[in-house]
Amino acid sequence: MVISYRDALKVVGIIIVCCCAVFVCTLFLNYNLDLCGIEGELTTPAAVAMYYAQIDMGRVTVGVTGGCLVATSAIMLVAYIKNYIDSHGRELGILKAIGHSRISVAKHFVVFGLGTLVGCIIGYVASYIYLPAFYRTQNADGLFPDMPVTFHPELFIVLTLAPAAVFSAIAVLYAFMRLKTPVLDLMREKREYAVKMRQGKGQKRTFLKEVAVATLKGKKSHIFFVAFSAFCFSAMVQMAISMTEIASQTFSWMIGGIGLILAFTTIFMALSGVVRGNSKTIAMMHAFGYSDGECRRAVLGAYRPISYIGFVVGSVYQYALLKLIMTFVFAGVDNIPDYNFSWSALLITFAAFVLTYELIMYVYSLKLKSLSLKSLMLE
């Protein structure tokens, strides 16, 4: 069969995102479940206020982080399968041509759910290991009685097996839909967008501009990933810096760490995809004598403005979210400092962002350089 279990493990991006999502969700949900158990034991008004604030905080975090990450991994999964079908068009076309039905081919895509399972389990286990420390930080003021970590089997199922099942179903369903493409078009690797990209007469761009436009239009998921990557970097690093002032140190390390992991995973995924997807164009441009700089600007440069947009959106988002949490969730709790937009956090994050992203772009431009025509011709 065309799809092996190793293909499923190549969805590193999905594994990492799932891992982060489940890590955060397990942390807060397990805590919330245990916290509910001690509600009756709370006596002081301060403890009760803190109790409700933490319960809400958990809900908001799980909703925002979890929801955001689940959406991301779903998009990653779909993009990955689309890419897989596009690049294995020949094999899939042959399978269809020799008489395999659509569903009998599509059902093999179930293995892509495996990546989700692996990621979820890693995230769950990591979270479980971290839970005792998390419980201590959450109760740093000693407002609550001591609370042991309890294992909640239903949580385990909801956070590991259920997502894996849902994602496997999405994978099969999506593959089933994509495989509707006629056999010949699958085999010819006909580009869908090829027909859609007609443009009006009179507006002539240079060839290099055309490459930039075609790159952007070719795989829309790359645009999302680049923007999302910048968004994560911007939002979560700034949040981490602000949180050292208003919450605990461990908490900000966690948020910042997850933000960076997500940012790097998605940007590497997107740019690798861009380079892979354009390798023939780039090799041909080299052969014709387009310089490295021209290839780089045409293929990668188009993504720069997108990453800046992602950064700006991330800054606004994190401010709104923190303000919201501070104003509404912790409204009744004493000793919570006021939260204002931190320009210094923005500046530090922006400097780090520009440095990292230019470095990554540079690394990928070296990758472009090493694409030899010969190796592509042997394909």
Binding site: R191, T206, F207, L208, E210, F288, G289, S291, D292
Partner: protein
């Protein structure tokens, strides 16, 4: 003039090493039409890639008007290809996500050539400007590849089995375009093929076998694409 001296090239190392070129010497006069002939695996493509600066040899020199390009840095080599070299490959290598017109502009832009529309007309694709490669036949795709290479206004045109994937009729058409361009623009043309009939179209034929040149001869009276056998 292009002069190639003592080119060697080995792929792999240790026990698996294959010596593909074993000391090649040849000269190509400006404006001539040279065909490199040889069996599959004799090293023709490798030699062509080396003369056209796509690949570096292990030893020897490739001089264009006395300048040894094997000594060039990568960026200088790219700049050299930009102004001097045109390629046409057996597998066309058109950009699949761009129309015929944009594919040709890939070459035209490099030479600031705004007149490329005429070239597309000349290869008979004037009515297919907005088509994508997947919508063209093999012969049409190869003609786009020719237009793309010519639009660049190269000094030397390299062709690696340009008719390898084409049937007789389309093959002759394509060869006819090439011969025409060679004649009207007195463009130095170097073509690789394993079809000895095609060699009759050239001024000069270089025969290769197992990484060596075994014979070189001039053709007194080159034939047209429609006169040669197939």
């Amino acid at each position: 003039m292009i002069s190639v001296k003592g080119i060697t090239k080995t792929y792999g190392s240790g026990e698996g090493a294959v010596e593909v070129l074993k000391g090649i010497n040849l000269e190509v006069d400006d404006g001539s039409f040279v065909v490199i002939l040889g069996a599959s695996g004799s090293g023709k493509s490798t030699l062509l890639n080396i003369i056209s600066c796509l690949e570096r040899p292990d030893g020897g020199s490739v001089c264009y008007d006395g300048e040894d390009i094997t000594k060039f840095t990568d960026s200088r080599l790219t700049a050299f290809r930009r102004t001097n070299i045109g390629f046409i490959f057996q597998q066309y290598y058109l950009l699949p996500n761009m129309t015929v017109e944009k594919n040709v502009r890939m070459g035209a832009d490099l030479a600031h050539n705004d007149d490329y529309g005429k070239i597309i007309e000349a290869v008979g694709l004037g009515d297919k400007l907005e088509k994508y490669p997947a919508e063209l036949s093999g012969g049409e795709q190869q003609r786009v590849a020719i237009a793309r290479a010519i639009a660049k206004r190269p000094r030397v045109l390299f062709l690696d089995e340009p008719t390898g994937a084409l049937d007789e009729n389309t093959g002759r058409q394509v060869l006819d375009y090439i011969a025409n361009i060679h004649k009207t623009q007195s463009l130095t043309t170097i073509m690789v093929t394993h079809n000895s009939n095609i060699a009759r179209m050239a001024d000069r034929v270089i025969m290769m076998n197992s990484g060596r040149i075994v014979q070189t001869y001039n053709v007194d009276c080159p034939q047209s694409a429609y006169e040669i056998g197939w």
